[in-house]
């Protein structure tokens, strides 16, 4: 009776199953999904910081695409004729006029513009926090050094994306920002003026810069960012995620819920939460009110002119330079008020980039590390990080020196001098405090492992002596406290030719600096000895 062309009986499948089979027969995706879907992703809130950056970048892409439909990157002069009364008839560039149209005359335009800008601020902030997490837990160690470099490049690119975007509306604030960049470039000896003229297509501001920045902002930079994010994530999959020490977690495994379905569902939900938070902020809070700033005009500079937060450290560095660091020599003006901040920031950035390699060299450690450190168990690294954060924070705060002065009824000079001291002395103070705190916490951990924690129960012994009962840790908690590595300073050894090189001396010195003060983890022997003493 059957008229089926095939005699083979196909099992009855659900729609999902048959759709999957259909796709798989054409793409062989099953193996990929099986491999990727079963990847474990360790669960810890700090492992989601990079995801915040990723998801806010998705929001930026979506909202930015909408904005490109209406933004016109031209510096041709027009007279504004939109709905905003206090700018009616004012001469401005087409870029500014179209941004005002987005804000006032295109349905939903202001909301999307604000969402784009807020998402950009969140993007860079999340990258910053993510980098701090990587640094302080030592998640940059072998095999992840390249991913540190890629992530760092993404941070710089994100700042570039932010700054080019900030400059596009051609309003007063963005024009002032570009003028500072122009001044910075012109302050570089020999090549400065040439570079500035090349960038601006002539004397500042010219009529080319907005179009050029637009190309960078929507084409080149996003393309590189997307490519690097892809590589960044592939490397995360290749390396497996780091995890914090706990029973059952080793250097060889990754323990956590599998990506499919649990983790994927969580991450998908997390994207919508971030989208929602950004939409809420964008609908309630004004950002970059270009209608207040008005069109760019090289003469006015508003009080309270600052860059967006992520460029603040550079602006702050310029503000902290004392007056008079500029002189004429060989018939040239030497602007050390610009060169010193540039060099200082350059060195800082190089140290951040190179840190994983420096630390590996100092340790002479060629093993892979997949268990993330607790910051206290790497006191010198944590202290270096604290010093770096203090340095950055001082520069960052300096960018708001005028706001600090007015809002806390201080003098501008007082604020500047305090921040100058913070930038120079602060890192050393932070270093010593952080290192002492780390070592103290390690001592506390050691004490707790060996003798248990204080239970608060006071017992009177028959002899009349009072003691507090110490409750021993359970094995799970103890594992977290004892499983870390302690490095010892390297010994200086002559090389194959029997010579001690300068490099080796330097390395030994650095190693001593890193590991001279250390608290060794509790050994099994110590633990047993302590147990027999207690029982």
């Amino acid at each position: 009776m059957s008229t089926a062309p095939s005699t083979q009986v196909t099992p009855k499948r659900s729609f999902t199953a048959s759709a999957s089979v259909y796709v798989n027969e054409r793409t062989s995706l099953a193996g990929f999904v099986k491999e990727l879907g079963r990847k474990a992703f360790p669960d810890h809130w700090s492992f989601l910081l990079g995801e915040i950056a990723l998801f806010s970048f998705v929001v930026i892409l979506i909202s930015g695409t909408f904005l490109t439909f209406f933004f016109q990157a031209s510096m041709a002069e027009v007279h504004y004729d939109g709905s905003y009364v206090p700018l009616k008839g004012v001469e401005m560039s087409v870029a500014m006029a179209s941004t005002l149209d987005i804000s006032f005359d295109i349905r939903g335009g202001l909301f999307v513009r604000q969402m784009h800008h807020w998402a950009a601020l969140l993007f860079v902030a999340a990258i910053g926090l993510h980098m701090l997490r990587i640094f302080f837990t030592g998640a940059f160690r072998k095999p992840r050094e390249f991913n540190w470099l890629i992530g760092f490049t993404l941070f710089i690119l994100a700042m570039g994306e932010g700054f080019t975007g900030y400059s596009l509306p051609d309003d007063l604030l963005s024009g002032n920002g570009l003028r500072i960049i122009d001044g910075l470039i012109k302050g570089i000896p020999v090549i400065g003026t040439w570079t500035s003229f090349l960038l601006f297509g002539g004397e500042f501001p010219g009529t080319a810069i907005v179009g050029r920045l637009y190309t960078l902002h929507i084409l080149l930079l996003p393309a590189i960012v997307v490519a690097l994010i892809a590589i960044h994530l592939v490397l995360v999959v290749v390396h497996k995620h780091t995890q914090y020490a706990a029973p059952g977690k080793t250097q060889q495994n990754a323990v956590g819920p599998p990506i499919l379905p649990i983790y994927a569902a969580k991450a998908g939900g997390f994207f919508f939460i971030i989208f929602g938070v950004l939409a809420l902020i964008a609908s309630l809070f004004t950002i970059n009110p270009i209608w207040n700033y008005g069109p760019y005009d090289p003469s006015p500079v508003s009080a309270g002119t600052q860059p967006d937060w992520y460029i603040g450290f550079a602006d702050g560095a310029l503000r902290l330079i004392p007056p008079g660091w500029e002189f004429v020599w060989l018939d040239r003006t030497w602007s050390f008020n610009i060169l010193v901040p540039l060099i200082a920031i350059g060195i800082f950035i190089l140290l951040v980039v190179a840190y994983p390699f420096i630390e590996a060299w100092v340790k002479g450690d060629h093993r892979e590390h997949h268990i993330a450190d607790r910051p206290r168990n790497a006191p010198t690294r944590t202290a270096i990080g604290a010093a770096g954060v203090t340095f950055y924070a001082g520069l960052w705060a300096a960018a708001s020196s005028d706001i600090l002065a007015t809002h806390f009824s201080l003098t501008m000079e007082g604020v500047i001098h305090a921040l100058q001291a913070m930038v120079i002395i602060g890192p050393f103070v932070a270093y010593f405090i952080a290192k002492r705190v780390c070592i103290a916490l390690q001592k506390k951990d050691r004490e707790v492992v060996l003798h248990g924690y204080e239970s608060g129960r006071i017992v009177k012994l028959p002899g009349g002596e009072f003691i507090e009962v110490h409750q021993p840790l359970d094995e799970y908690d103890r594992w977290k406290l004892v499983s870390y590595e302690s490095y010892e300073p390297l010994m200086i050894r002559p090389n194959a030719r029997g010579k001690i090189t300068v490099g080796q001396r330097l390395r030994a010195g650095m190693s001593r600096w890193f590991f001279e003060d250390r608290i060794a983890p509790v050994t099994k022997g110590e633990l047993e000895a302590s147990h027999s003493a207690h029982h």
Binding site: F47, V85, F104, L122, L172, V277, F285, S299, A303, L410
Partner: protein, 264 residues
């Protein structure tokens, strides 16, 4: 002879009554002039000698310690001869004078004098030498070209007061105050007299009509909230950065803690 002797020797029987009446009138009049409850009843006439006299009394009681009995100035305060009625109306009307204490800048505070007393002081000081007068109502109530005013404001005022009139810092603890709730007449007077550290924008520099436009723009900003939502103090990127770090990233990090805590 007898009569004349009697006249010089004796007071008129009604003299005591007249003296008493005169005393009562003066006391009552002074009370009425000084009392805030009745102040609204009388309008200070700029030209009236009485206004100037009242102003002088107020001046000598409240201002002379620093500015001198004849407003000639002392080591503690400048001469006020020639500053005009506008300067006094601004300084006293916004509560900056009498000054609470010596400092980098006179702070704004609730005015100490009623409008009428302020006017009396102003016309007294104006009577000492010619200076800018209190502007006419037509110049200070807006109604001008907001776009022109905004442009003038950005060029002449924004470097200290911020483009949105949110205020800004100057050197050595001085500052340009926010303009978010300053009345039109005080804005005008500030422009013509240059109080504290502010420069003078005279009528050759910015014409009275242009000043009216600037006031029109500031009124527009005062009356129309930001179309984008809460302004965060109109402070620009610093406030925005703080907000996204504390509330934006803060809220989302709280969510990450929640997401990962659920599985445990």
């Amino acid at each position: 002879m007898n009569r004349s002797k009697r006249r010089t020797g004796r007071r008129h029987p009604l003299a005591t009554v007249a003296l008493l009446a005169l005393g009562l009138v003066f006391t009552g009049g002074a009370y009425a002039a000084l009392s805030s409850g009745t102040a609204a009843q009388a309008e200070a006439e700029p030209t009236s000698q009485e206004t100037i006299e009242q102003g002088k009394k107020l001046f000598q009681a409240n201002c002379a310690t620093c500015h001198g009995l004849e407003a000639q100035g002392t080591n503690n305060g400048p001469s006020l001869i020639g500053v005009g009625a506008a300067a006094v109306d601004f300084q006293v009307g916004t509560g900056r004078m009498p000054m609470q204490m010596q400092g980098p800048q006179a702070q704004e505070k609730p005015p100490q004098f009623t409008d009428e007393q302020t006017k009396q002081l102003a016309y007294y000081v104006a009577s000492l030498g010619p200076g800018p007068d209190i502007p006419a109502d037509s110049l200070v109530n807006g109604g001008g070209d907001a776009a022109n005013g905004a442009e003038l404001f950005r060029i002449n005022c924004a470097m200290c007061h911020n483009v949105a009139g949110a205020g800004g810092a100057l050197t050595e603890g001085k500052f340009a105050p926010p303009l978010t709730d300053v009345s039109g007449v005080h804005i005008y007077e500030a422009m013509v007299t240059g109080p504290q550290n502010m420069p003078v924008f005279n009528d050759l520099n910015i014409s009275p009509e242009d000043k009216r436009d600037v006031i029109t723009y500031l009124k527009y900003v005062q009356d129309n909230r930001s179309p984008g939502g809460f302004e965060l103090g109109s402070l620009g990127p610093v406030a925005e950065g703080l907000f996204i770090w504390i509330f934006g990233l803060g809220a989302i990090v709280a969510v990450t803690v929640w997401i990962t805590a659920k599985s445990n």
